[in-house]
Symmetry: C2
């Protein structure tokens, strides 16, 4: 019997889902794979009767406990690690790992940290601005036709995480920064860079907003997914 | 760039699906994973408008080309290798492999043989009689709640087959017997066993029907999935 790792720290987060049936099917998939926390952010429609129908009675408890938030920032604030799913691969999204590759890392991190598996709306996926909340991206491999049904994408990622949870990874990752702590760090960094006249106080978002500065950290993360966390901890230690 | 193996010989076969939406979602999943042949057997309902809606326009061609059969025997006749999915594991279904384990074998076999990935009805799965058509079984691992949505099960199996198709397995399996050839072999075996007074001619199905004799071959297959094929070829060679 292989060791089973705890999946209680992993949540599925659906950002702006459009169809209650997809929320229900995602709930059932998560439940199948041992993930018991589901969060919806600003759903276009969330008719619980339709959600429950697709979730079936097996996943009814998961739907009952489902959390709903108005915006992504609030929903993700308590999480130390956010993984965003993307079907699009471009120059801005280089070397995005596959579910199998990232699953083992997630299990390791999840033992002492809360992880959000973030999925975008059915019609467009996650924008670059929304992906800036993420510590890592993941791309589900497909044969040409890359657009997966939302609940199918949830299934594939949860399936890989569940399989990885049954293997002994041998390593555990220490507690990391939450999204809120990271946002605080970005805020302090902005003030400091304005203070030393490195950026224009009239327009700090040009460098610090959701595009440029997050890119720097995303690139750091490409070589090591924990680099950002180390910088964040170092930053907070030296600013306390 | 890894080698991509041909998936043209692999078909998804849905036995008695109950909901057109599940047929459509299964079509989309297969399409996502590069599998372009879909067969439905005795569907309870197959409203193409509802099928197409869930398949989306991306998988419309696959739905247009979808084949429909009245019974499982006819549908499976041209296939050399049938893999049945089962959520139930019992004494009659020992040591059922997982998708990841079987996927590499399937890719090897599929290069010179037609493979059917067989899925049972939503409400009950495949019966033991229906599983007797199968050369191998596969069980999708789950955390306690084992009942997957039909299209989700299709997705997981097709996903694993697709991933395996991108790896060089290094081995190819020669052409095997079709289901029709195997049924012919069972027929000849029955006649022979009656002829030598081994079984009662009044009630040959007692030994030869869908339970007992198939069990013998299934047990042989447990130790080697190709044993049955070898016996079948040997049998046909010596009876021609």
């Amino acid at each position: 019997m292989s060791l089973r790792m705890n999946l209680d720290n992993i949540a599925v987060v659906l950002h702006r889902p459009r169809y209650p049936e997809n929320i229900g099917a995602a709930a059932r998939s998560a439940c199948n794979m041992g993930i018991s926390r589901l969060i919806v952010v600003d759903p276009r429609e969330c008719d619980l009767t339709r959600v429950h129908k697709m979730a079936t009675h097996f996943a009814a408890d998961l739907v009952e406990a489902m959390e709903e938030y108005e915006n992504l920032e609030t929903a993700l604030a308590p999480f130390q690690y956010v993984v965003g799913t993307t079907a699009r691969l471009g120059s801005r999204r280089p070397a995005v790992p596959k579910p199998r590759k990232i699953a083992e890392t997630l299990i390791s991190i999840s033992q002492h940290n809360r992880i959000a598996l973030l999925f975008g709306p059915e019609n467009r996926g996650l924008t670059n601005a929304e992906l800036s909340f993420c510590h890592a991206l993941v791309n589900i491999p497909t044969a040409g036709f890359a657009s997966l049904n939302l609940a199918q994408a949830v299934m594939v990622l949860c399936y890989e995480v569940f399989l990885a949870s049954r293997e002994d990874t041998g390593t555990l990752t220490p507690r990391l920064s939450t999204r809120r702590e990271l946002e605080d760090m970005y805020g302090q960094l902005t003030e400091t860079l304005i203070h030393i006249n490195f950026i224009n106080p009239e327009n700090p978002d040009y460098w610090m907003g959701h595009v440029k500065i997050h890119d720097v950290f995303l690139r750091l993360k490409s070589s090591s997914s924990l680099t950002l966390q180390k910088i964040s901890h170092f930053w907070m230690d030296t600013n306390e």
